[in-house]
């Protein structure tokens, strides 16, 4: 008996099967040219942010030289210079550090809160559901910018506080979606059969249902990423974002509002082009991701 079992186990290939639903989605992403192109763009932005952060490119972003102020775009200064004679291109490159980190960490925090809350509310129902629903309905009924501004005010300015403020306010939609999906999934027989096998609540929530719901998290992650970048820009423009002096696209646009009537458009131009590129790439990738993860669109 034991020897027989041993041979049968050795027949089992160690490699994971190439046919899990996740692998299917991965294959479909690789087959999609737009998805690949936008993935490349996203990677370029991330690399740019990393290199800038570690002082390997665009090191002179804060080098002031008033002799060179407001130079028009040229081959030396691709996007010209600002009021202090700093290279606008290099400031825009540094702006990607703020954008990528804010987007990533805000989305990560929102993902964590949204999925956990949604899972608990949907799975347990009853008073747990009531309190969580009450909480997110309340948060959702406050005008967004106002809420963000008050969070930011209470926590104080600064990059890490910005993550928290954005994260703490962006989880509501995700929480709703996850809750609804948990309500649906918990009635499926695979969950009931796990229960009849003696599986604990924890096991049923995190090992059984969550993997079947996680595609929502992935898609929402991209959406929150994009909206966090855009909101950071608006907040910085209003003077509520990162501290002045830190190069961010929002601050560049803020500075540009005094310059525009004199005809110096490049601060605005550079920030807009950089932001547009990243937001578009993430959005396109997200669309491709949604199609790849949706089993109903499978054979199209």
């Amino acid at each position: 008996m034991t020897t027989q079992a041993a041979t049968s186990a050795s027949q089992i290939p160690k490699k994971k099967s190439a046919n899990s639903l996740w692998r299917d989605a991965y294959r479909r992403i690789l087959a999609n040219r737009i998805a690949l192109a936008s993935m490349v763009v996203i990677i370029v932005y991330v690399l740019m942010a990393l290199l800038a952060q570690f002082g390997l490119i665009a090191t002179d972003y804060n080098l002031t030289n008033t002799d060179l102020k407001w130079l028009s775009p040229s081959s030396e200064y691709l996007f010209g210079t600002d009021i202090f004679g700093r290279s606008v291109l290099h400031r825009a490159i540094h702006g990607s550090v703020i954008a990528v980190t804010v987007g990533f960490f805000a989305a990560l925090i929102a993902l964590f809160i949204g999925v956990t809350m949604g899972a608990l509310a949907g799975y347990f129902g009853g008073w747990v559901d009531d309190s969580i629903t009450w909480l997110y309905t309340t948060i959702d009924s406050i005008p967004y910018i106002l809420l963000m501004a008050s969070f930011q005010f209470a926590l104080g300015q600064g990059l890490s506080n910005l993550f928290f403020a954005l994260g703490l306010t962006s989880w509501v939609t995700l929480c709703r979606l996850v809750r609804a999906e948990f309500l649906k999934q918990k009635q499926k027989e695979y969950v009931e059969s796990a229960r009849s096998l003696g599986a604990s609540h924890f096991r049923r929530i995190f090992l059984h249902i969550l993997p079947n719901v996680m595609h929502l998290g992935l898609i929402q992650f991209g959406l929150i990423f994009v909206s966090a970048i855009k909101i950071e820009v608006i907040l910085s423009f209003l003077g509520l974002g990162v501290e002045a002096g830190v190069p961010s696209w929002g601050i560049m646009i803020n500075e540009a509002k005094q310059e525009l009537n004199r005809g110096y458009w490049w601060n605005l131009g550079a920030a807009t082009v950089f932001m547009f590129g990243l937001v578009l790439a993430v959005n396109l990738f997200n669309d491709a991701l949604r199609d790849a993860l949706d089993p109903k669109l499978k054979n199209k």
Binding site: Q4, A5, A6, S8, A9, Q11, I12, P13, K15, K16, S17, N19, S20, L21, W22, K188, E189, Y190, E192, S193, A194, R195, S196, L197, G198, A199, S200, R203, H208, P211, N212, N299
Partner: protein
Amino acid sequence: MSDSIVQVKDLWVEFKTDEGTVQAVKGATYDIPRGKTVGLVGESGSGKSVSSLAMMGLIPQPPGIIKQGEILFEGEDLLKKTESEMRKVRGNDISMIFQEPMTSLNPVFTVGDQIGETLRLHQKLNKKEADEKALDLLDKVGIPNPSQRIKSYPHEMSGGQRQRVMIAMAIACEPKLLIADEPTTALDVTIQKQILELLAKLQEDFNMSMLFITHDLALIGDIADDVIVMYKGDIVERGKCSKIFQNANHPYTRGLIACRPPLEHIPQRLPMVSDFMDESGKEKSFDNSKVQDRIIRPLGDSEILMEMKDIKKHFPIRGGIFGTVKDHVKAVDGVSLNVYKGRTLGLVGESGCGKTTLGRTVLRLIEPTEGQIIYDGEDITNYDKTQMREMRKKMQIIFQDPYASLNPRMTVGSSIMEPMVIHNLGGSRSERQDMAADLMKRVDLEPFHLNRYPHEFSGGQRQRICIARALAVKPDFIICDESVSALDVSVQAQVLNLLLDLQDEFNLTYIFISHDLAVVKFISDELAVMNGGKVVELADSRSIYENPQEDYTKKLLEAIPKGIPKELAGLAERKQ
């Protein structure tokens, strides 16, 4: 003009998938005679539905490709028609009824609106005329009190009634051909019988032709004139219904006829298609009449494993603004039964009779309102969570839908090993893997498939995986809740045989729940008929067939498709 309404000539259909091209229909040629019913039989994946979808111009292209062939409808090739020409044919000349009455009606419109829509679209009737006609149709399909029911929404109707509404929609424009694609598979046997009778009656009244698609050959015997049997895209048998049942040429057809649980006797095991032919389709010699009957030992020989004492489960109905309890649904209303060690208790009844609720209450997946559950001498009714988790090792359940009861994101191996992890069986991962591999072999699956995901398996294979998972904790007691109802008859026979073999090998005790009396009777030692939350008849499985006491039991017996062609059953009788 010929006397055939439809002639399918050398039809080839293939589907392009990730794994390559699948030949769904390989050169099908058949006729549907005017005013007759043709039964198209085959298991899932045999291509039986594809050829009818081609007739309706409903094959999604891509991935489907109609490679060659003609489908002549009254002499015109349907495959050459444009989409707008086809729209005039669909619902008007040819209409279709689908399997799932729950999802094929739109939940936001009343049934009257939905029937009327077809009429307004194809017959250009105005609202009032359409309403009148809809009322007439509801009456024709046997919906009681049609003038009130016309304003009902689909969720207010039962499954059988919804299927009647679907039929009313299908016949609204008096089509020349009605395609019924597994119209009764999702229904109880008793409702199935009513729907079959209705279809037979309508077919005569309207002088329609009908193409009836099913996996269950016995069903077709009741209703069809001609039978076509499809296997893996090929037509393997075709002929008059009466001839096929008495003298089938192809071993596959003989296998299909034999694999349904018989009523008159209880064989040791069910014949399977694989007894009649091998994988490649080569005939094997097998004599069905040599299968011996099962010897049923008296129940008194065995000890009692579980006692249910006066079990009640009432669900409160809340109403009013304060959600006060107004009434109770008495799902299970005082059931006392004994289950004997190593034996099978069958629970049979229509949907809503409380059999499923009883099964879940016994496992305490639902808490009983009243009563006691005594397992192996111990009262487990008030066991707490930890005690109950220990009990779950001994008691298992196999659900109806093998598609829903496996987690789609877990490999089959992880699913089978999970109960071992929960209950700490087998020390290491590799030990558990060995145990899982053994279980796979025991349920006749390849051990190296452990790394695959559920969607890569067929329905029957998935049900085997569920059985393997239930066996992983070495239980003594298993509840099979409609475990074979979602399977093709040919696959059903295999799973039933497997359950019997496992019972012999591991001395398992089963409660087997089903709406199909023939299946329950085959597998059970003792049989409880349930109706309205109560057990109405309890007897051993032989005497329940030979000498049913209650009218309700007789009704259930009556509803089982006998597989007797309609000429033999006396069509004249039905006409009256």
